[in-house]
């Protein structure tokens, strides 16, 4: 049995991966990260504690960790993290787990993990070359080529939140933060993402128009991704998923419109299936692969 842990800016989730038959997550637990208070080193301490609690109940053969922040997937060290997790850079959870529990452990960036999760257990099943983007308060991305993560020379590949569109960062014009800000500046209303879509469904035309603009921006980015990588499939995940019913027809229509007249003009777009669990599934898969190959 493997233990999978997903470290986010707000929460740390953990669970046991059950492998017989359908792969599923058992004994799921969730803890506040409290990163601003405990820092990266406090996260390390928390991880040690989480493992300790599982180890007495299960025969754990390894620990898979999906985490926010940039990770050097060769050394498993955190390369950078944003201001939500102070002093995370330089932390090596894999070494800690090995030293304390003598268990194999891999650490990988959460968006990369989610992409691997979707590839093997979600919307990407049966495909080899996909691009996953997560749209939430920011935008993340992961490139899968021949079923493997493409990291790039300094582990920045796929970070399309920083892609420039009209001199703006992609994540400044196509994330939920964009929606929230735009709604406030145009209507004066302070609404969160969920409330914004409620208003749109109730028929608020100003807000419907803002969501149209948001989708237009998102599609611009998606088309850029399509032309750089020409993947078999592009999968959208992240917080925005909750509104997939509302968004899917709009996004698809805009893609078709934009790609009209283009030879081989098919962009196969899906929403993610595994939701919050994608990272845990993906990290598990990466660990299992390493253990089987004995590269760890």
């Amino acid at each position: 049995m493997y233990l999978s842990i997903d470290i986010g800016g707000t929460n740390i989730k953990s669970g046991i991966i059950k492998e017989s038959g359908i792969v599923e997550i058992l004994d799921k637990k969730e803890f506040p990260t409290n990163a601003k208070r405990v820092h990266g080193i406090g996260i390390e301490k928390k991880i040690v504690e989480i493992i300790k609690n599982y180890i007495v109940k299960y025969d754990i053969k390894g620990v898979a960790i999906s985490t926010a922040g940039g990770v050097d997937s060769n050394t498993n060290e955190i390369l950078y993290a944003n201001e939500n997790i102070p002093f995370y850079t330089g932390i090596n959870l894999s070494n800690t787990v090995r030293n304390i529990y003598n268990l194999p452990c891999i650490v990988e960036n959460d968006v990369n993990c989610a992409a691997i999760g979707e590839l093997y257990y979600g919307s990407g099943k049966g495909y080899s070359n996909i691009f996953c983007l997560t749209v939430g308060t920011g935008i993340g991305g992961a490139i899968i080529i021949d079923k493997n993560i493409y990291h790039g020379v300094s582990f920045n590949a796929g970070e399309i939140g920083y892609m420039k569109i009209n001199k703006m960062n992609f994540e400044d014009i196509a994330s939920t933060s964009f929606l929230v800000k735009r709604v406030k500046s145009i209507t004066g209303l302070e609404l969160n993402g969920k409330k914004i879509f409620e208003q749109a469904l109730k028929g608020n035309e100003q807000i419907q128009q803002i969501i149209e603009t948001f989708c237009e921006n998102l599609v611009e980015g998606i088309i850029n991704i399509f032309y750089v990588l020409n993947p078999e499939k592009i999968i959208i995940g992240g917080g925005i998923m909750e509104q997939s019913e509302y968004l899917y027809p709009i996004i698809n229509k805009k893609i078709q419109y934009a790609m009209n007249g283009v030879f081989n003009n098919n962009i196969d777009l899906s929403f993610a299936k595994l939701g919050n669990n994608a990272g845990m599934y993906g990290a598990y898969h990466l660990l299992k692969k390493c253990v089987e190959k004995s590269t760890i």
Binding site: K36, R37, H39, G40, I41, G42, K45, Y80, E83, P86, F87, T89, G90, I91, N92, N95, T96, N99
Partner: protein
Amino acid sequence: MLNDEIKLSDIKVNKEAIDWKDAIHVASLSLIESKKIKTSYVDAMIRAVEENGPYIVITKHIALAHARPEHGVLEKGISFTTFKEPVTFGSEMFDPVKLIITLAATDSESHLDLLSELSDILSDKEKTEKMYETKNEQEFLELLQTV
């Protein structure tokens, strides 16, 4: 924000310590002199390491010494101390320590933004190397304040 909160008197550079406990004492002196903490707070910071391990060593070469407010914080404060000879705390990842930041917080929230801000500055390797090397408090303060 850093400009207002950190003063020249909060910084001591090129100090000496015989071990990590002594280093925490040395790194607490300016806060004791300015009457922001009591000596009981220093003991509590040391006890925290003895009981929990060197979790105050938060990143390469840097320790953030602190304890709970009720252990003797009189007024909120922060101080920075660098050491002539690096100090070993027993942190496998981040030893040896060259800079100790001593934090006296009156509640558990107010210092969090300051630390987030510091985290950006202290992840700049080039800058921190200069901070460890300098023998001049004013220069240290300027390094801390330039973005």
